[in-house]
Subunit: 200 residues, 2 copies
């Protein structure tokens, strides 16, 4: 029995993204060509272009799916915890664990910034998606009266900034362990939460 078309499509796309991830890690994003991704996948050239426009398009897709994975992980956690303070802290642990479990994607995310406008746009899309999610969650806390009525975007940017900076320190600089990374993110958010929580 032939593989249904839809499943075959999904598997091929999956294979192309996995080959791209491996090459980006092995050779670096800049030193990887579309040709090499195609060769590694074993597919014909046409197959690649059925799914992606170019190398940036595959990076964009990888980061987009990664953001969705993080948002989905945090959203799942929300169903298990109703206390807004605990949520504020523990969602950061969930996020950092997802970064840590996806070492290759985390490394690609950490390494590609700042060198071309196309890549900056891919990154911006990824980060804006997370920042928007963080904004909605903090606004929820404000609406519930749990958090002070502060300007939300600076806080949401700060959360991602800290996560990103400590991720870089772990995965690129190898200056801290995974456990230290998670502990530092949590410790910082405990202090931040004290400033955010409405004590009236």
């Amino acid at each position: 029995m032939p593989i249904p078309k839809l499943r075959q499509n999904k598997e091929r796309r999956q294979r192309l993204t996995e080959c791209a991830i491996d090459l980006f890690i092995e050779k670096g994003y800049f030193n990887t060509s579309v040709r090499e991704i195609i060769v590694k996948s074993g597919f014909g050239t046409g197959t690649f272009y059925n799914y992606f426009i170019d190398k940036e398009d595959i990076l964009k897709a990888l980061l987009e799916e990664f953001a969705e994975q993080i948002i989905s992980g945090v959203s799942t956690y929300y169903t298990t915890e109703k206390d807004l303070y605990k949520r504020f802290i523990e969602t950061k642990r969930v996020t950092m664990e997802i970064f840590a479990q996806n070492e290759k994607l985390s490394e690609i995310y950490s390494r590609v910034a700042g060198t071309s406008q196309t890549i900056d746009n891919c990154l911006k899309q990824f980060e804006d998606k997370l920042i928007d999610f963080y904004i909605r969650n903090i606004e929820y806390g404000i609406n519930k009266g749990a958090f002070n009525n502060v300007s939300v975007p600076p806080i949401a940017h700060a959360i991602l900034a800290v996560e990103k900076f400590l991720l870089f320190k772990w995965i690129v600089l190898k200056d801290i362990t995974k456990e230290e990374m998670v502990a530092m993110v949590i410790s910082f958010h405990e202090t931040l939460a004290k400033g955010l929580i409405n004590n009236k």
Copy 2:
């Protein structure tokens, strides 16, 4: 009357770093060679190597002096303000203004991360210098009883992370204005300070 040796040395070094900065901005750090820096400076090859070992060495020196400039700017501000809450907030404005006044160095700092270990080490030296300075300042506040006795390194890392992230958003992505960047950094630190201040 000939220029005294020491002054001549300083001026030559200065000229080399200025040429390097201009080329790093114009062509990107990676696409600039030592040769081009030498040609632009008008000096002989030997002169460059009197002051620097290679391209990374000049980047390292640029970032080191930049960190010293920031630390010196903040230290000067300290002499004008004794209130530790105001200090905590306003030093961030001072820092962001220094970043903003040194657009070229800020852009080089924002763009070079993550692509080679040598560069990562240059960046790490720059960032560690600032983080150590931030740690000492927060510890001072804790020792004075003004701040809660929290774990300091996560806070210090977070401060630099936010500054760096919003700097990138301004200078690379051009997604926010300079004023928005400063306002967001300040707003975030007001919330963080509430969590940090000892209210007992």
